[in-house]
Amino acid sequence: MNKMVNKLWTRIFIVAAAVLLLLFFSNDFGLIDIQETAIVVALGIDAAQEGEGYDVTAQIAVPASTGTSSAGNVTVKGVQTVGEAVAELNHETGWYPTLVHCRLILLGEEVANEDVFNVLDYFLRNDAVEDSCLVAACKGKARETFQAQSPVGDISASAITKVLSSEAQATGIVTVTILKNFAVGYYSESESGFLPCITVKQEADSQGGQNADGAFAPAGAFGKENAPYALSLAPSIKRNKWWRAKKRPLPIAAPVSAEGGNQGSGGQGGSGKSGSGSSADVFHASETMLFYKGKRVALLTPEETLAYNLAATDTDYAYGSVDVSENGEQTSYNLKMKISKKKRKLTFENGMPVFTFTIRANARIADTDKSQPIIDVAKTLLVNETILRAAEEKFQSELASLWQKATNAGCDLFFLKEKLHRFHYKRYAEFKDGVPEIVQVRYDIKFTSMK
């Protein structure tokens, strides 16, 4: 009996093996042909140039036989949905697009004027696209942003993802959002969210007068009046290139394809600019777009972005400049701040909601704009009280500014409504419509020096 069962199993295995071999050698059962697959690394979505709908630009990585890669942009114009555009990509290019490696969704400025989830809906529904991809908005058109290039030889989507890396977030320069987190905010009680705002600038422009269009606020932007001291929490770019580079520890400019003409040379829907210009481009992401119910409602300046990061995100160290009046003379100090504690708490006092920012940071002088005696240079870890208080005050003013901006725009940037729902559920019904407007804000900010 046992022998018979063994024989039976052997026969079953032989049949199974034969079926498998048939499948294997027939080689035609809907598998991926890597040579006909377009690996989409980024998608840009703009409002249609003509009529309603959208223009969707896919940045497709083009592998070279050497293993290095470049990218091509393909734009599908005038589609009603993103899904339609993805299907269209296949028809127009003959390549089957795979979005599993899509790491960036870039929304054009006009798309952000309406509910962005009109277009992001596709990515939430579709399992082929990971909701771990980065989402950003850009000034102007996403298509044009993808066409930017720089001389180092990277593709633009990759350059933008580097700008939006978690390391950049850790230094407070940019606010980084992935699709999942953006969607969680959108569907939460607060219905709010934020996206980094990408701007492309010619490298030559950005190296010199960086603040031409307000993309970067000047160091003195916060206290340009006659205040005795002023703090710029944004990296100071007051002096020279070396100074700027030092204060921007991460690459903010990344190159795009060196394969000139490849960028934007895509398919029939193709984009205009070939990207073969000789000057390189730099991506800035230090501004932050605020959203309420999916619509853009405000724009945070780089200083406000940094303040927000220091108060609310994973940022644990940052550089900021503070101007202090010393002996009737303005001295600018650049401080390196290490956040040791950050807390945002919603409490109730006398029946009214109070929101308290508690921030503790350690500061040291990284630089000044004046030469100082060697003994002061040697004591660079020690920051005097005047400078510390100036830093605290400036940080507070920036936080107040961004709070005001967000509240006025209706954006619940600090997710107070959600906090109210989670931590004060009993009072939720009472205050849900008044938050965050009626909330009293308190700042408990303390900067200390090494001792």
Binding site: V5, L8, A16, F29, G30, L31, I32, T98, V100, R103, L124, D127, A128, E130, S132, C133, T161, S165, S166, I178, K180, A183, V184, Y187, S188, H421, R422, F423, Y425
Partner: protein, 355 residues
């Protein structure tokens, strides 16, 4: 001989029991119970734990199998009828998890939408497992434990940086009715006590076996609750969209690393354990048929797997309907077979009649 060890049953509860609750269950629970999903799950776990404890109490008192116990009390024909009914129950209990895994496999392991045939080889493995009997369940539990432990811990650790446990607040913010509905409508994921009932007589009760098994069940339950908490902490308000929870929670940490989606390694490892677990109801079904009609397992195994394959293909586009049927309509059946009958088995005569 279909012998198992108490240790293997413990490992089963720690490693194989939780995996079947890592796919659609968290999203379904989020739909019904929202952020109070842990309470819904806890109610089910408590009930099932109680049933498990009662079965172990029964195991302490008798060396007979369930068949022997029923035969002792009601006679052989009754035993055969009960086994036939349980065979039908196990067949039903096998279907939804299989369809869940089919969807999981087709979505997570393939990029082009493959045909359902890609899932069909599962039934070949299941056929093999069915023929091998309970011994293979025990032995596989031994293999599954380290695989599960490593993969589960790794996935949870990868998910933790993205987890905001405050999403589970406010506690009791969801009406109790919804929490209970969540429990009731997820009864189909709680069939372990029924499995344990059929292990009776196939393992030797050793000292403190009941304590060991119940502790193991508690560990497995803790794993389920932790998973649910992390899952809801990661997704909060969009949790109901995440059908294949186990493949979703850890991707946010790995997506942008230079190694890429290393979490897939652990997801695949858990998929392997899921295969072992999915075979169990089919194995139980075959065991019941063999006992009911008194035959060798090969033919029933072939029939059961062919039927399950046919149902999977036939219901390929009706997952939601099947899910609704099993969760919202057939919950009573699951309550009876998975909770009530294992508990009622304690009332059966535990010693053979003299003569």
């Amino acid at each position: 001989m279909d012998n198992m060890k108490v240790r293997q049953i413990c490992f089963y509860f720690i490693a194989m029991m939780p995996v079947v609750r890592f796919l659609v269950y968290p999203a379904t629970l989020s739909y019904n119970s929202s952020n109070d999903l842990l309470f819904s799950a806890f109610i089910n776990l408590l009930l099932e734990g109680a049933a498990v404890a009662l079965v172990m109490l029964l195991a302490k008192k008798t060396k007979l199998s369930l068949f022997g116990l029923i035969e002792n009390t009601f006679g052989k024909i009754s035993a055969k009828i009960v086994y036939a009914l349980f065979a039908l129950f196990f067949l039903a209990a096998a279907l939804l998890p299989m369809m869940e895994q089919k969807n999981f496999v087709l979505l997570v392991m393939y990029e082009n939408v493959p045909s359902v045939i890609s899932f069909a080889p599962f039934f070949f493995v299941c056929l093999f497992a069915c023929v091998k009997g309970f011994k293979s369940i025990g032995r596989m539990a031994d293999i599954a434990l380290p695989v599960f432990a490593i993969a589960f811990v790794a996935l949870i650790l990868l998910a933790l940086p993205q987890t905001d446990f405050s999403a589970l607040l406010p506690i009791a913010g969801v009406p109790i009715k919804d929490v209970l509905k969540g429990s009731l409508f997820s009864a189909n994921w709680y069939t372990e006590a029924a499995f344990l009932l059929f292990f009776l007589g196939n393992f030797e009760y050793e000292k403190r076996a009941a304590l060991k098994v119940i502790s193991s069940y508690a560990i497995g339950s803790a794993a389920v609750l932790l998973f649910l908490a992390v899952f809801y902490g990661v997704f909060s308000d969009i949790a109901i969209r995440q059908y294949n929870a186990v493949a979703q929670i850890s991707k946010y940490t790995t997506s942008f690393t230079s190694l890429g989606r290393v979490d897939y390694l652990f997801i695949f490892a858990l998929a392997l354990v899921m295969i072992f677990r999915l075979c169990v109801p089919a194995q139980m079904c075959v065991h019941c048929i063999c006992k009911a009609i008194g035959c060798k397992p090969f033919i029933p195994a072939l029939a059961v797997n062919a039927l399950l394959l046919a149902l999977t293909i036939f219901l390929n586009y009706s997952f939601l309907e099947v899910q609704t049927l099993f969760t919202q309509k057939l919950w009573l059946m699951f309550l009876i077979f998975a909770y009530a009958l294992p508990a009622a088995a304690l009332l059966l005569k535990k010693r053979r009649r003299a003569g």
